[in-house]
Subunit: 219 residues, 2 copies
């Protein structure tokens, strides 16, 4: 556990908690970890939500697949980020999404009810956890709003440019790498891959952006 302390210290769930406090809490919370190989399902659509997931290493994609097999990517999570926290908070009986390991990843699981209900030992910093979780939930809402802003645009070009602009803002730079390949980007923007490739070509010809694989630069 201690090995991943530097990751957990960056994790917003443990914001403002000392190393020792984090370690003590992990015991109270009965945190467990598991390793998943690339493309393995960490949490499965349709199953009950009980655990909050924390990415200790690697990365995770949140996806949904409809009847027709169309995949939709809700987001990509890196080291220190949480997933499934909202569903676990409301104890959803059937999760609307799956969590898939994007590469070999180590995941920590925390039973959400252990955060919501104070443990017997009544750890003094439990309250901080609750506030932190609240912040995480609020930020997730903001993130989803952004995703809605992107996919509510009517054309592939607008969706792409809205997404890239948000990326540029986040990186404070107009050049950056995105965590998706073309198909994944298409699934995130909810558009057709070939149409997306065509649009990227156009934008390149119009000198609006440079792009090489998952590297982009806005001009």
């Amino acid at each position: 556990m201690r090995k991943f302390l530097n990751v957990l210290k960056k994790c917003p769930l443990f914001f403002d908690l000392s190393d020792n406090n984090i370690i003590t809490m992990l015991e109270c919370l009965e945190a467990k970890t598991d390793i998943f190989d690339k493309n393995y399902t960490i949490l499965s659509e349709g199953t009950p939500a009980k655990y909050i997931g924390i990415v200790l290493s690697g990365s995770v994609q949140i996806t949904r697949t409809d009847y027709y097999g169309n995949r939709s990517i809700l987001g990509n999570l890196c080291e220190g980020e949480l997933f499934s926290e909202a569903f676990a908070c409301v104890q959803m009986t059937s999760m609307p999404v799956s969590a898939i390991a994007n590469e070999r990843s180590k995941i920590m699981f925390i039973d959400c009810s252990h955060i919501l209900h104070t443990c017997q030992k009544d750890c003094p910093h439990h309250q901080q956890l609750v506030y932190n979780l609240m912040k995480v939930l609020a930020l997730k809402t903001v993130m989803f709003q952004q995703k809605i802003e992107i996919i509510s645009k009517r054309t592939t070009r607008e969706k792409l440019l809205t997404y890239l602009t948000i990326c540029a803002k986040k990186n404070n730079k107009n050049s950056f790498k995105i965590p998706f390949n073309r198909q994944e980007l298409a699934d995130y923007l909810e558009v057709d891959r070939s149409g997306l490739s065509a649009e990227i070509s156009k934008l390149r010809k119009e000198n609006i952006l440079e792009c090489k694989r998952n590297y982009f630069k806005l001009l």
Copy 2:
């Protein structure tokens, strides 16, 4: 204040609190109320988020308008529901959406920092408020996921049917009223109004649904 107690008792923020507790808390929280006429702006895109809004009467729409003047409707809130809670929690300096009175509405405002930081009197049930707010935030995330599920569909027909199916589930009935007129429904589904009307006509001819204004019945 007391006049709206029956609404506040239904409000998820005050879940599991007695009438007296609610009244006491409202003072600690320095809750204020205001009345807005139809189409008036309650909270404005681009301004700092500080207050949580609660609909005491009437109804509120959460909207965003882009450069080109395209309106997007994020959701519709009825009596007892909250808005702006996520933005207020993270003390956003520039809200990404506006809140508009859908009809003459009475709104209660609570400074979010009063919930996040315990008051001097240290009211014994303050903690319950925090838990309740957390539930609200988690449910909002779930709601936005649903909206993403709807608008990630590629055709107007699929978007509409996905939305109506969710409505039917929520109402536990295959006939129900929706809180939108045609233009608003189009702005919620992020599609063209005339195309939406055409699609509704088709579905009617195919005996897949009945519809009269904002009343729908799935067959």
